[in-house]
């Protein structure tokens, strides 16, 4: 039995966290994540969750405390945005290398400088090689559902990697939508009890976390981390299926929207997928065979699956909400081209858009479809919606 509530992305996420009821949450406020933290603080203050809530003095300490608490044997969450993630960065890598299954909502916000509080994906992209699973959400419903699933993905023994649940700052985090919420017990049964393998608090079986790993072992440990990331793809799919059985809502590694017979496909992530779907509908109404591929799982990167999904297209455009400053193109585009190389010769163009919260609308995405149809192509990124 579910109920429907009007929730912002932040509140949807806080509701999911309250129902997961982690043992420990260590958090530091930052716009636009703040309301998520406020809402969760309300749950704590009202005694609705048993969670011990640590109000740390920085995001660096938030992630540090999360690492300590998770190594101790607790189920642990935090949440951040932008500069917060940047400050955590050092410990973000340590969390994944210690194979601690943290879950962290990342309310996507542009990185400074210049300082800006609005959405782009530069924060998430800065951590794309950190050994965290990264799942992107299109709307508040997906934020809720993905947060619940993230716990089960992270804690899978074949994975044991932390998960970032990414959703667009303000566009999702502050927009009220209808969200279907599961019953508390359904969420609890779905995520189950956390069973840590070698907790620090098992004082009868002392373990050393975080030893110095020199050239004789470091490489093997990083390879194990890499293997765990490979295992994650199937686990994300399986957890998505199990969640469908519970909620009726289906989740995979990406969503194909009108792509089956599409000549022209746009690949994008986050809230822009909703806008792109509307643009695709417009094109379809005019008889143009276009589709949208919404990537949900950015890490691990589903290279083979994407190559298969795009094989029938005449041209593809990738929308990147971050620049790589490599004088070439955006990070999603770079990964996709690498995934397709040698498998699929479809031309893939790149549009960098929406930096610092710059709006993207249906007409702009419609223009990208028109570009694809007209054969407009460059091996360098185009910039969409910028004054030049």
């Amino acid at each position: 039995m579910s109920k429907t509530l009007p929730l912002t992305g932040n509140y949807a996420c806080a509701h999911a966290m309250a129902q997961i009821e982690p043992d420990v949450v260590a958090c530091y406020p930052i716009t636009p994540q703040t309301e998520l933290m406020h809402k969760f603080a309300d749950f704590v203050a009202d005694g609705k969750v048993k969670t011990e809530f640590i109000l740390v003095e920085s995001e660096h300490s938030a992630m540090s405390a999360c690492v300590g608490a998770a190594a101790a044997g607790a189920r642990v969450m935090t949440a951040t945005s932008s500069q917060g993630l940047a400050l955590m960065w050092e410990i973000v890598y340590i969390a994944s290398s210690l194979r601690l299954p943290l879950v962290m909502p990342l309310v996507n916000r542009a990185l400074s400088g210049p300082i800006n509080i609005h959405c782009d994906h530069s924060d998430a992209m800065g951590a794309r090689d950190s050994g965290w699973i990264q799942l992107f959400c299109e709307n508040s419903q997906e934020v809720y559902d993905t947060t619940v699933q993230a716990v089960k993905i992270a804690e899978n023994k074949e994975v044991l990697l932390p998960v970032m649940v990414c959703f667009d700052g303000f566009i999702i985090s502050h927009t009220t939508e209808r969200v279907d919420i599961l019953e508390d017990h359904e969420v609890k049964e779905f995520v189950g009890q956390y069973q840590p393998d070698h907790p620090l608090l098992d004082v009868d079986h002392p373990v050393t976390y975080g030893p110095l790993d020199l050239p004789d072992y470091y490489f093997e440990h990083k390879k194990q981390e890499s293997d765990a990331m490979k295992n994650a793809t199937q686990v994300v799919i399986d957890v998505g299926k199990a969640y469908k059985a519970l909620s009726g809502r289906e989740y995979g590694i990406f969503e194909k929207y009108l792509t089956e017979d599409a000549d022209y496909i746009i690949l994008c992530m986050g809230s822009t997928a909703g806008t792109a779907k509307a643009a695709a509908d417009d094109q379809r109404a005019r008889g143009n065979k276009v589709g949208v591929l919404k990537l949900r799982m950015f890490r691990p990167f589903p290279a083979d699956e994407l190559a298969q999904a795009l094989a029938g297209a005449k041209a593809v455009a990738v929308l990147d909400r971050a620049d790589s400053f490599n004088a070439l193109g955006g990070p999603l585009w770079g990964d996709l081209r690498s995934a397709l190389y040698g498998k699929c010769s479809v031309p893939v163009s790149n549009y960098i858009y929406g930096l610092g919260g710059r709006d993207i609308d249906i007409d702009m995405i419609g223009q990208v479809f028109e570009d694809l149809k007209a054969g407009k192509y460059s091996d360098k990124a185009y910039y969409l919606g910028v004054r030049e």
């Binding site: 048993k50 300490s61 608490a69 998770a70 607790a74 410990i91 620090l200 050393t208 030893p211 110095l212």
Partner: protein, 308 residues
Amino acid sequence: MAISLKKLSHKESPIAPGHRACAGCGSIIAIRQVLMATEGPVVCSMATGCMEVATTIFPYSAWRVPFIHNAFENSAATMSGVETAYRALKKQGKIDKEIKFIAFGGDGGTYDIGLQSLSGAMERGHDLLYVCYNNEAYMNTGIQRSSATPKGAATSTAPAGKAIPGKKQYSKDLTEIMVAHDIPYAAQASPHNFLDLMKKVQIALNIEGPKFINILTSCHRGWRVPQNTSIDVCKMAVETKFWPLYEVENGVYKINYKPKKDVPIEEWLKTQRRFAHLFKPENRHIIDELQNHTDQKWKKLLDLAGEK
């Protein structure tokens, strides 16, 4: 409970032999003393530094108790997470043991890069003991100056050169900064007086809330002293009042050791080649300044302890 040497001689050290600390390392001695003073289960964290490197080279670990190293600046924040997890799981009935928590850091990881993390953990009131093994510079990375380095000391980043005679600034009084957090217990100790040090650890672990102990530990590489003088040189720091042994429990100061006679600071300085250049005529004024500074600090401490 009184510390009995007889009992201690039968206690297995929580730090196993075979670690890779230097012969004559003051820090590993101090850490062993801290751990030997514990009586029940204990979980430890350690900032990146000599002691972390020397005790945990994979696949070996000298730690017979649960141990976590996270990074350089976050031993306190990491332990605050461990301690919070303990409270969370205990509340839920998933753990029933009484466990104590000790976070370690060197002066780099405590006075400097880890100060924010330490301050935050103390302010939040976690039930943990933070122990700084203060060897007065970043010894692990090659003897660079820290804010704990005494004025005048030569380090690799503040060397005794022709224009600048070593470190220009006095060391930061971190113990007093911790006292200013109004924590229930803060103290200074030295491994030469191990009974005092271990007693302080026991007092601290029996107090609920955040505790801090600052231990002066010699480093023969950085202080440039013979390896067999590591304890003597710590003792002389106390005898010259450079490193007073005192404790502050619930705001009440107590000086644990008052030297019988006034030993000039140069008696401590001259034992260490990091201060050798101060004995040149043109640098003698620095010794005078150090003496003056030490006298003033001691007088202030006497005042605070109500012993004018």
